[in-house]
């Protein structure tokens, strides 16, 4: 196990290196002068441009700048935002909990809805329940999350007045954004759970369990779902990343504070240090989420370790 973890840890090194290099290079890939672009909306004097160049260390050689960028990032220093003149790391840390809360709630919702719907469809294969559940899944995958968000606001806030349309805060501010964000994942999970369950239900140990006289529900859950879950859990890591990135859209729809909305505003304001900081932070977080998922997976299923 330790060998597996160290090998897996080692494999993230080139990825982390590539991610930092990519994010750092963004500044160089901007067509034209990045400083002029960032300052375009303000009154710019040559002195201001010179000061900005110095602040961003743009006069140094590329390698030196990159080394400084990585060294600072490793110490938690992601530079200063141009608009608010605040440390980027502080701005991210302030809003990250709200984003994590949204993504995790959406993940939990999509797992519960998706697995529930998938199991129901599988045990009633080819019935109307099955057809209905799979049609719902198809629509869920095809529906833009931001449109679902607007529909939820239209129904539950504007017409029924049950939930607040925008803002952050308690549970009532979390339900609709989490549902809008998680619906797509729930649909994918439902389709996967159904096919995985159908495969398991055909296995001989299921027949054995039934022949032993175990009750229907117990067979389906303890023998069926437990085995069917393996491929489903695998895609959770992927889903977590998708949901984390999806918060960018959903936080904008619901005017909810979070790093997704922070990123959009930073892009629109051309606040490049902030954009770089958030993109780097989310990508590195995602790399480590995947690392953890893989390690947990290997701990559960020994075939992975020796594969």
């Amino acid at each position: 196990m330790i060998r597996y973890i160290s090998a897996r840890l080692l494999s993230t090194v080139p990825v982390v290196f590539g991610v930092t290099l990519t994010v750092f290079s963004m500044l160089y890939l901007i067509p034209g002068d990045p400083v002029k672009m960032m300052l375009s909306e303000f009154v710019t004097s040559p002195q201001q441009i010179a000061r900005m160049r110095a602040q961003l260390h743009l006069n140094e050689p590329f390698a030196q700048q990159y080394a400084r960028f990585v060294w600072n990032a490793a110490r938690g220093d992601l530079g200063e935002s141009i608009r608010d003149r605040r440390p980027v790391a502080d701005e991210i840390m302030e809003l990250f909990p709200s984003t994590v809360q949204l993504a995790l709630t959406a993940l939990a919702l999509s797992a519960a809805l998706g697995v529930g719907l998938g199991v129901l469809a599988a045990i009633r294969q080819n019935s109307w329940t099955d057809v209905g559940a799979m049609m719902l899944a198809r629509l869920g995958v095809s529906m833009p999350s931001f449109w679902l968000g607007l529909l939820l606001i239209f129904v539950f806030s504007l017409h029924l007045g049950l939930l607040p349309a925008t803002g952050g805060g308690g549970l009532d501010h979390l339900v609709m954004p989490a549902l809008a964000l998680g619906a797509g994942s729930a649909a994918i999970t439902a389709a996967l759970t159904r096919s995985s369950m159908l495969e398991v239900l055909r296995m001989e140990y299921m027949t054995t369990a039934r022949a032993k006289g175990l009750a229907g529900a117990s067979v389906v859950l303890r023998h069926g779902l437990a085995n069917a879950l393996i491929p489903i859990v695998t895609i959770f890591g992927l889903q977590a990343g998708q949901l984390l990135a999806g918060t960018v859209i959903i936080e904008t729809v619901f005017g909810r504070p979070g790093i997704g909305r922070l990123l959009i505003n930073a892009i629109l304001n051309k606040d490049f240090p902030l954009v770089q900081g958030i993109v780097l932070f989310v990508a590195i977080a995602y790399v480590f989420i995947n690392l953890i998922v893989d390690v947990v997976y290997a701990a559960v299923d020994p075939r992975i370790r020796y594969g």
């Binding site: 990825v15 994010v23 963004m26 931001f146 990135a245």
Partner: protein, 295 residues
């Protein structure tokens, strides 16, 4: 007994039952594929004949008619500038299909090239290219596209480039996997020892093996690309006003949700229908062309 591989053509001549032919026959019997094809076909029809179907200009402003409910003259109502929503939805179809096609075209072409080269040559080149792909995959969901748009600046063209680039890893991995299997085949060895140039081996002997999975992934990728593009336009990082782009229209309708539900509802339905059609067609093609990919 007649050779089962030979079927009779309508003129009574024996024709070889090619893989394409049998695939097409199976596709015709696949309900999902047919339904998807009908939806996508209808959308292409709407996009091609948009001027005949919606003669009113999608960007014509008529303040006197602002926020009119759906009714005669404006079947889908008007927006806050009095622009005809029906006309904007119809004209948006061409934009969404174009964005989907071009993004997937960029992703599939570049990804296939990377996958072919990495898979065929192997070694250091393969290791390097696959690490680059790993790095691209480290940016989840639309984050990579967002990063690219923030560098290039918001516009419809840059949006297609961004969504296209972020799709490259999928095709690169898919093609590489198929190439690894194909290059071990005897006919590839035969071509190599008889001195066929590498470029010819890649294009004539290996590429045909990866076409089916790339077509399937490309069709399914269209749905993802259209959704990503609409999402980026929704947050203001794609098409710019007054372009009748569906994602953009949804965000413009957001402020009028209470009084004018139609501004955002019809483009929303249009996006969903398009993605649904493309996905159903893609799933059908996968079942027919490449049953191994079925989950």
């Amino acid at each position: 007994m007649a050779d089962p591989a030979l079927a009779l053509s309508p003129r009574g001549r024996a024709v070889p039952q090619t893989r394409l032919r049998s695939s097409l026959r199976r596709a015709g019997r696949h309900k999902g594929a047919v339904a998807g094809l009908v939806i996508v076909g209808a959308l292409v029809f709407v996009a091609l004949f948009q001027n005949a179907l919606a003669p009113v200009s999608p960007i014509r402003i008529d303040i006197a008619q602002a926020l009119a409910a759906p009714g005669p003259g404006h079947p889908m109502g008007t927006d806050q500038y009095g622009r005809d929503t029906y006309s904007r939805v119809v004209h948006g179809s061409g934009i969404s299909l174009t964005v989907g096609l071009i993004s997937v075209g960029i992703a599939a072409t570049a990804g296939t090239a990377v996958g072919l080269v990495a898979g065929y040559y192997g070694g250091v080149l393969d290791a390097f290219l696959m690490r680059v792909v790993d790095v691209m995959l480290a940016f989840p969901g639309i984050l990579l596209a967002l990063g690219i748009v923030s560098v290039l600046g918001p516009s419809l063209r840059n949006l297609m480039i961004a969504v296209g680039i972020s799709g490259i890893p999928l095709y690169a991995r898919l093609v590489r996997g198929s190439v690894l299997v194909a290059k071990e085949q005897l006919y590839v060895d035969a071509a190599r020892v008889t001195g066929v140039p590498v470029s010819v081996i890649l294009v004539r002997h290996i590429l045909p093996n990866v076409v089916a999975p790339v077509i399937v992934a490309g069709t399914l990728g269209m749905g993802t690309a259209i959704l990503a593009a609409a999402a980026l336009s929704f947050i203001g990082l794609g098409s710019q006003p007054p372009t009748p782009e569906w994602g953009r229209m949804l965000s413009e309708g957001r402020d009028y949700l209470r009084d004018a539900w139609w501004i955002s509802t019809f483009p929303g339905l249009a996006i969903m229908l398009t993605v649904l059609g493309v996905n159903m067609l893609g799933d059908g093609l996968r079942d027919v062309l490449d049953p191994r990919l079925r989950i």
